[in-house]
Homo-oligomer: 410 residues x 2
C-alpha cells in the first residue's frame, strides 16, 4: 500500500490566493461589465527592463551556436551571477558575504519551503502573525505541527502577534524556539525592522542556538537609510541566519523566475546527539541532489540587473511602485483610514473601517468598488480586522482604485 503524507490532510482548504480567485471569478461571472482592479496578489505589472531583455536575447543567441551553447550549469548558479550578487548586494554595503555562500534558485517561495528539508522534524518553529502563508503551510506539510484550531492556528507552532498595539514589532518568544521566520520589509504589513529590532533577534538566536530564516524579498523598496537591507548588517548574524532574496519584486521577475539564498559558511546547527553541524554543506547537498540550476538565459538576465543600465532601470521601477504606495497610503489616510506600511515596502496594510472583519471588507470592496485586496485574516488570526493592498499596478489603476475606495468608506 502506498501511503500518503497524512500531514497534508491538516492543511486548511486552500491557499489564500486561490480562495480570493474563486470569489473574484464568481463576481466577474455575475458582473461581466465590471472593471475590476486587482490589488490582491503582489504581482508586478510593469514591463521587464531593457537591459535584462537584451541580456536574455544575447544568451539565447549563445545557445544557438555550438561554441557557446550551455548544457547543465552549476547547480548553485553560475559564477558570474553569484559574484555580481555578492559584490553588489552585500560587499557594497560592507557585508562580508562571498560568492560561494550564495545559492541561485528559481524562487524564494521554493527556497523558503525547501529549506525545511535540511532541518530536523523536532525543531520548535516561530512565525509572526500575520505571516506569509508559505512558511506555515510548509511546516504543516513536513509534520512540524498538529491540527489547526478554529482560528486557523496550528498546534505546536509559536505565533508572535504583530499588530498596531505592539507597533508591528514581533515580541521575543516566551519559551525557546529553534527556527524563526522573519520577513522585512514585511509581507503583509509593509512595516520594517530597525537595526535595534534585528539586533535583538540576532542576540536571541545566538543565546538560544536558534536559526533565523530571514526573508528579504522586498529589501529594494527600503527608502530610509537607517533601515538594514540585509540581516547580515547586524554583527553576529552570519552565525545564526539564512537570508532569502529575490529578483521578483525589484526587477519584475515574477514571471521570469530567479532568486537566491545566502547560507554563510560559519552557520551551524546541531545534530540529534548535540554535535555542531555546518549548514552550508547540507544545503549544498540538497541543492545538488534535488535541483538542477536556473536556466542560463534567466541567469544572464539576472546578471544584467547589476549593470549600470540595469540598476538605473530597476530603480525607476521601484520608484514607480513606491509612488503608487504613497498614493494609496495618502488617499486612504485622507478619508480617515489607519494605514501602515507603504513607505519602505510595496504593501499598504490598513485597519478595516468600523467593525468589519477582513473578509466582510473584502466582499464589500469587491461588490461596491470592484476592487480586490487581500483579507488580513488570510495571513493569520492576528491579521483579522486588517486588509492588504498591493502597490503593484499601473498608475491609472492606482488612482482609480483610490477614488473608488474613498467612495466606499466616506
Amino acid at each position: 500500500m502506498a501511503f500518503i503524507n497524512d500531514h497534508y490532510l491538516k492543511l486548511k482548504a486552500g491557499y489564500l490566493f486561490p480562495e480570493i480567485g474563486r470569489r473574484v471569478n464568481k463576481f466577474c461571472e455575475e458582473n461581466p461589465n465590471a472593471a475590476v482592479i486587482k490589488l490582491g496578489i503582489g504581482d508586478v505589472t510593469e514591463p521587464l527592463p531593457t537591459a535584462i531583455r537584451e541580456a536574455m536575447h544575447a544568451a539565447i543567441d549563445e545557445m544557438g551556436e555550438a561554441g557557446s551553447f550551455r548544457g547543465y550549469g552549476p547547480e548553485q548558479g553560475y559564477g558570474f551571477l553569484r559574484e555580481a550578487i555578492a559584490k553588489n548586494d552585500f560587499q557594497s554595503r560592507g557585508v562580508d558575504i562571498s560568492a560561494d555562500e550564495i545559492f541561485v534558485s528559481d524562487g524564494s517561495k521554493c527556497d523558503t519551503g525547501n529549506i525545511l528539508d535540511i532541518f530536523g522534524a523536532n525543531n520548535k518553529v516561530a512565525v509572526t502573525d500575520p505571516v506569509y502563508p508559505v512558511y506555515v503551510d510548509t511546516n504543516v506539510m513536513t509534520g512540524r505541527t498538529g491540527a489547526a484550531d478554529e482560528n486557523g492556528r496550528y498546534a505546536g507552532l509559536t505565533y508572535l502577534p504583530v499588530t498596531a498595539e505592539n507597533n508591528f514589532v514581533a515580541p521575543l518568544p516566551e519559551s525557546p524556539v529553534d527556527l524563526i521566520y522573519l520577513c522585512y520589509p514585511n509581507n503583509p504589513t509593509g512595516t520594517v525592522a530597525t537595526k535595534e529590532t534585528l539586533k535583538q533577534w540576532v542576540d536571541y538566536a545566538r543565546a538560544n542556538g536558534s536559526i533565523i530564516l530571514f526573508d528579504a524579498a522586498y529589501e529594494a523598496f527600503i527608502t530610509d537609510p537607517e533601515i538594514p537591507h540585509s540581516i547580515y548588517e547586524i554583527e553576529g548574524a552570519k552565525d545564526v541566519a539564512i537570508e532569502f532574496r529575490s529578483f521578483s519584486k525589484n526587477a519584475g521577475f515574477t514571471g521570469t523566475r530567479c532568486a537566491f539564498t545566502v547560507v554563510p559558511k560559519q552557520l551551524k546547527g546541531t545534530t540529534a546527539s548535540g554535535e555542531p553541524a555546518e549548514i552550508h554543506p547540507l544545503w549544498n547537498r540538497r541543492h545538488c541532489t534535488k535541483f538542477n540550476g536556473v536556466s542560463y538565459i534567466i541567469q544572464k538576465g539576472a546578471e544584467a540587473v547589476y549593470s549600470e543600465q540595469g540598476q538605473e532601470q530597476i530603480q525607476s521601477l521601484i520608484a514607480f511602485y513606491l509612488e503608487n504606495a504613497r498614493l494609496l497610503r495618502e488617499g486612504l489616510e485622507s478619508v480617515g483610514i489607519s494605514v501602515y506600511g507603504g513607505v519602505n515596502a510595496p504593501y499598504v496594510w490598513l485597519k478595516t473601517p468600523g467593525e468589519s472583519t477582513s473578509w466582510e471588507f473584502f466582499d464589500e470592496l469587491l461588490q461596491k468598488a470592484h476592487l480586490v485586496g487581500t483579507p488580513g485574516s488570510g495571513f493569520g488570526a492576528s491579521g483579522e480586522g486588517y486588509f492588504r493592498l498591493s502597490a503593484f499596478n499601473t498608475r491609472n489603476n492606482i488612482n482609480e482604485a483610490v477614488t473608488r475606495f474613498q467612495n466606499v468608506v466616506s
Copy 2:
C-alpha cells in the same frame, strides 16, 4: 537549538558526478595539454533548435510591453504548454491523459526528488540496481532508509538487480513494496522495457496497492515501434503510476530547464488509517505551495518543441545522438567489448574488460586515453564491473573517443 536533519549524515561522501569531476580536474591539472573527451555526465552538446530560440526571443519581446507582460503564471504551467503536451505526447499515441493531469516544472531531477514530499515516511521503497542516484539519495534524506553498508546499499531499501545475467529485466520484489522507481529507456544501462515487462509491473502495483514512479526522460530515443513511450500505454497504469518527462534530452534543455510530471486524477494512495486518498490534489497542493511555475519565456520555448518546425529539428537532434550511440556501440563491439543499450537510448553500458572494477577502468581510460566515462558501481553495487558512456557529444569527439578506446583495450 536548531536541529539539522540527521538523515543527511547517512549520505555517502558525494554525489557520483562531483567525484568524477574531482578526479578529472586533478588529471587535467597534472596533464594540462591532454585533450580530455567527456562522455560521463549525460549532457547535451548540440545548439538549441531554431524554432525554440525564435519562440523564446518572441516571449522576451512580449515581456517588454505592458500589454503583453506576464507576471506570476499558473504554478502548474500555462494552458498552452499543458495542452500541447497532452495532445502530442499522450493523446496522439491513444493515451487518455488530459492537460490538467500535467504539471510543468523546471526539471525531472527536482520532480523525482520532490515527489516524496507527498508520500508517508513509512513506505517500503524499491529501486533497480544500478539506478539513477537521485532516487536513492532523496529517500535517504527523507529518512526512508537506514545506514549504508560497505557496498553502498542502504538498509530498508529494496534493491532489484539488473545485470547481464537477468538480461537487465528487473525481477519483481520478493516481499511487498509500496513505491517503485522504474526508468525506461534506462539510465544508466540504456536498456528498454517491453510492453510485457511493464504490464507485469502495472499488474504487480495494482495487486499490491503500490505506486510506480516512472521516469521516461529518455523516451524520445525509442526507435523500436514495439516499445512503449509512456507507462500509460499499459492498461490500468493510470491507477498506479506517476510519469516524469523532460525536455532536457530530446530538445537540448539541460541548460534551459523545463520538464513535466503526469499525475492521473484517478491515482490513489492510502491514508494512515487505510482510507483511499487521491494523489492529484496532494501534488497540486505541493506544487502551488512550494513552487511558482516555470519562466514564461522557457515555457514558450518548450511549446515550440511541438510545432512542425520544432518537431523536425528535435528529430534531427535525436537522430544525431542515436548515430553517436551506434558508433560507440559498434566501435566497442568490434574490439570484443560486451555492450548493452545504445539502440533506443543515448547511453552505452559496457562490461569492463578483464577483471577491472568500474573505478579501475575509469582511471585507466582517463590516464591512457584521456576519456571520461561513468563507473557503473557509482549507480549501485550491481553496477560493479560495468561502465557507462554517453552519446551526447560532437561527432568528432565520438569518433576520436572510439579510436582511443580501441587503442586502450585491444
